[in-house]
């Protein structure tokens, strides 16, 4: 995300950009698409309401001519008061904008060392690894880290609509156009909830090498933790 925004901003000032991208030959565990600006966690960019912190940040970015936030607004899909996108459409739009810009040269290559003779922006994300990980360690000292997790996705057609319904919390929608709300709500009775809860906290987790010193980020804490 940051790298795409940076490339588009620099090119918009008539400065040529070389953009290095390790995909598709190399890919992190979290990435699946071959295109740029892949959202790997939620497909929501949080609130549209300008009187929330995230909404204010979006307005500031739009005021500064931010390219990616503008794209997200242009292609948003219904999700109450949140700015959500189809991650494939979002990624495709950003990719088109970069590939069609004659000032941006894309080189699909994994970078290990930083010895360019021009200003360089590193935006390789929290899953940076390999030689570049080591190079940055040598330059910046030991990394800090935390663990996070992404939530599952299910198909709509496989849901039992006798046991769920469309509604937004407090029936809050951006423009009040969608009467039914845009979230599918799956209610649980008290008994169902406690059965679910007990099974969840006793379920088998994937073992992690670094399990002992795990730091969760509270915004992305696993549900079973």
């Amino acid at each position: 995300l940051a790298g795409c925004e940076a490339a588009l901003q620099v090119a918009s000032k008539n400065i040529p950009v070389t953009l290095y991208e390790q995909k598709p030959a190399n890919r992190s565990k979290a990435h699946r698409l071959d295109t740029f600006a892949e959202l790997v966690c939620s497909n929501s960019l949080k609130s549209l309401d300008r009187l929330t912190a995230s909404g204010l940040l979006k307005q500031e970015l739009l005021t500064l001519g931010c390219k990616l936030i503008q794209i997200a607004f242009d292609i948003k899909i219904p999700s109450g008061s949140a700015l959500s996108v189809d991650r494939k459409v979002f990624s495709a739009k950003v990719t088109d904008l970069i590939k069609s810009n004659s000032l941006i040269t894309v080189i699909n290559q994994r970078i290990g060392e930083l010895n360019f003779d021009c200003p360089t922006i590193i935006a390789t994300g929290p899953l940076t690894d390999g030689k570049l990980y080591q190079t940055l360690w040598d330059m910046c000292g030991q990394y800090l880290n935390f663990f996070d997790a992404v939530s599952p996705i299910v198909s709509k057609e496989s849901l039992d609509f006798d046991h769920c319904f469309l509604a937004d919390r407090y029936d809050k929608t951006e423009d009040n156009k969608i009467e039914n709300g845009s979230y599918i709500n799956c209610p649980l009775s008290k008994d169902e909830y406690f059965e679910f809860y007990n099974q969840l906290i006793n379920a088998r987790q994937v073992a992690f090498k670094e399990w002992d010193n795990i730091n969760y980020f509270e915004g992305c804490m696993p549900i079973e933790a």
């Binding site: 490339a7 901003q9 912190a53 500064l64 935006a123 996070d148």
Partner: protein, 194 residues
């Protein structure tokens, strides 16, 4: 969880007219609205266990999982020690760090650092002053946070707690409106100064 992602507040079960005991919300994932993600259900459970345990929720009894939840380690540099507010490394001129590596958390925040690193980079190439963002803007407040000494430095989302407080505002709505007005005014001054 009933006070977390499964909280039922603000939800009325249309079949009963009552608030459910607990609720899982599913958010539309793609434009054709045939994929939905389990809001707040990020997980490191084994894949088979996800199907079994989430299947206890009545609506998900026969759910088809298009993607299972996974967990990974996220790394970021110790920005307060090594990064300047222009997102340039203090000890390595001409090298800028943006995105979650720089210690911000969230998509919008990451995009913001890409934009700021680009503006700093452009200023260097054009030999002009690096734009300065006041702490009263969310951008300035986040840049300030990630570059200020902090023994417990952790990635940060945009939040009003980062902004200098407006003590005389008791009404929540008025206060947020004042944060907004103050920020946009300051930002426009920054843009005019460029």
């Amino acid at each position: 969880m009933r006070f977390g992602p499964m909280r039922p507040v603000g939800i009325v079960d249309k079949r009963t007219g009552k608030r459910p005991y607990a609720v899982l919300q599913l958010r539309q994932e793609n434009s054709s609205a045939d994929m939905y993600n389990l809001v707040g259900f990020q997980t490191s459970l084994a894949f088979g266990e996800q199907k079994r345990v989430f299947g206890i929720i009545p609506a998900l009894k026969n759910a088809e999982f298009l993607r299972y939840g996974v967990m990974h380690r996220n790394s970021f540099i110790n920005s307060p020690n090594v990064l300047s507010k222009s997102l340039e490394l203090k000890d390595y001129k001409d090298i800028f760090v943006a995105g979650q590596l720089s210690g911000v958390e969230g998509y919008v925040e990451s995009i913001m650092t890409g934009l700021i690193a680009a503006k700093s980079c452009i200023a260097k190439i054009d030999n002009t002053d690096t734009p300065k963002f006041d702490q009263t803007t969310m951008i300035g407040a986040l840049l300030n946070y990630i570059t200020t000494k902090n023994s417990k430095f952790a990635p940060m989302n945009a939040n009003f707690g980062l902004l200098p407080p407006l003590d005389n505002m008791r009404d929540k709505y008025q206060r947020k409106q004042a944060y907004y007005d103050r920020s946009i005014k300051s930002l426009k001054q920054t843009i005019d100064s460029l």
